[in-house]
């Protein structure tokens, strides 16, 4: 489907379907992320909210990106299949929460409109997890970039709660045992890097 039309239909996409897209494959994730990114309804809702709450356009842009990151992170590690509701209100909930945490961090006094969220408290992202400083993110990226792409995929799935059977199935390994072996090799590779670069490890801790 044309990306523009796809993106305009996102605001009525069910949350469960969006989560399945995030979990299914990198291609589907990419398509969903592009869809959200170009969706006028979602983007303008978030931008309006931030700007009405005392934020600048730059803040809105930053929160919009962080909302997508947070949604993908949450959806990727999400295991329940009982979640209901639509994507747009869920994203708005994340954006409001992120903006609230950001304001607290900046110690700015603002009056937040009532946060209407369709999610339970458990679904809300934890502030400490949300905001990585640019330096820390850059460091993380440097480390993760050392991994080969198949290692990245295996470790990413493993650390986000996918079973070895699911990993074998999604990434095309012949058996669960093969996937397990690959995961061990990749983890050893990451471990070696940290072992050889203790200063990086210290910065991360």
């Amino acid at each position: 489907m044309n990306l523009f039309y796809f993106s305009q239909y996102l605001f009525i996409m069910s949350l469960l379907y969006a989560i399945s897209q995030v979990k299914n494959s990198q291609e589907e994730r990419q398509s969903l992320i592009s869809g959200i990114y170009y969706n006028v309804t979602i983007k303008s809702s978030i931008f309006n909210f931030i700007q009405k709450s005392g934020g600048e356009r730059n803040d809105a842009s930053y929160i919009f990106d962080e909302t997508i990151v947070q949604f993908v992170k949450t959806a990727f590690s999400h295991s329940s299949s009982t979640i209901s509701g639509d994507l747009e209100p869920y994203l708005m909930g994340i954006a409001r929460n992120l903006w609230y945490q950001e304001c607290k961090k900046r110690k700015r006094e603002i009056s937040l409109p009532e946060v209407i969220s369709h999610q339970t408290a458990d679904d809300q992202p934890v502030a400490e997890e949300i905001f990585l400083t640019k330096e820390r993110y850059s460091l993380l990226h440097t480390i993760l970039d050392k991994l080969r792409s198949n290692c990245r995929a295996v470790l990413m799935h493993w650390a986000n709660g996918f079973s070895m059977t699911e990993i074998a199935e999604k990434l095309g390994y012949q058996s669960e045992g093969m996937a397990r072996k690959k995961k061990s090799q990749c983890l050893a590779e990451l471990n070696d890097f940290l072992f050889q670069n203790p200063h990086i490890k210290l910065q991360l801790q």
Binding site: H141, W158, S184, L187, N191, L194, F195
Partner: protein, 238 residues
């Protein structure tokens, strides 16, 4: 990599049997990297978990880069495309109205060599007809001269002469195929060989067959032409 790395998750999650656990701990004592992995297991898992964030940020970065293209670079591309389009239109118009490639008239003006006036002796009818035709040709009455040259001659020498003038008339009246076939016949005569080659070269130029023209030019006896004339022709052959 130690084989015990495959037991790492189970060890951390307490899923190993007591014997396996002992074996694993024994292995750890002799393997610094395995010990490092156990000590840093939460960090390794956290780093692996953040791969999804890394991937998403990279995707967003790509989208941002794609988006920033329209604002600046795409606008520039549009201007460039418009400029190229305007240039193209101008070039086409120029080609149509002010063609820079030489036209056939120009080539003829620069390269055509009119045969020198020739006098023939004799009182026979065909000789007199030919004399009259040549006179008309010299004065550029080509239409009037043409039927006189087309009249059959009584000997080969006069026929060859008629053919020579006929070929020139055809050339000047742009009946190039006819002219070319007559000059090809004249190529085999000793008197007009060089002239025939030159005019065939000229016809090739008029027909935009530069390669053929160059080949014919190479066959010419250049000593029969002035340097100025040769330079002009070479200009067209480039």
């Amino acid at each position: 990599m130690s084989l015990y790395f495959e037991w790492l998750d189970d060890y951390m999650e307490g899923k190993l049997t007591p014997q396996q656990r002992l074996d694993f701990e024994q292995a750890m004592k002799g393997d610094e990297k395995l010990r490092h992995a156990v000590e840093n297991y939460p960090l390794l898992k956290q780093l692996s978990a953040s791969l999804i964030e890394d991937e998403t940020r990279q995707m967003l970065k790509d989208l941002e880069n794609k988006k920033s293209v329209p604002d600046n670079t795409r606008r520039l591309w549009w201007w460039l495309a418009a400029a190229v389009f305007v240039g193209l239109v101008a070039y086409i118009n120029k080609s149509i109205f002010f063609s820079t490639t030489p036209g056939n008239e120009q080539i003829m003006a620069d390269a055509y060599i009119k045969p020198e006036s020739q006098k023939i002796k004799g009182e026979a009818t065909d000789t007199l007809t030919l004399t009259r035709a040549i006179d008309l040709f010299d004065r550029n009455y080509l239409t009037e001269a043409l039927p006189l040259f087309q009249a059959p001659a009584t000997n080969d020498s006069l026929q060859t002469l008629s053919n020579r003038y006929l070929a020139h008339i055809y050339l000047r009246t742009e009946k190039l195929t006819l002219a070319d076939s007559l000059f090809t016949i004249l190529e085999n005569t000793s008197n007009y060989r060089n002239e025939a080659l030159y005019n065939r070269m000229l016809i090739a130029l008029l027909l935009h067959k530069k390669e053929e023209a160059r080949n014919l030019f190479n066959l010419l006896d250049k000593s029969q032409f002035s340097e100025k004339q040769l330079k002009k022709v070479e200009g067209y052959l480039r």
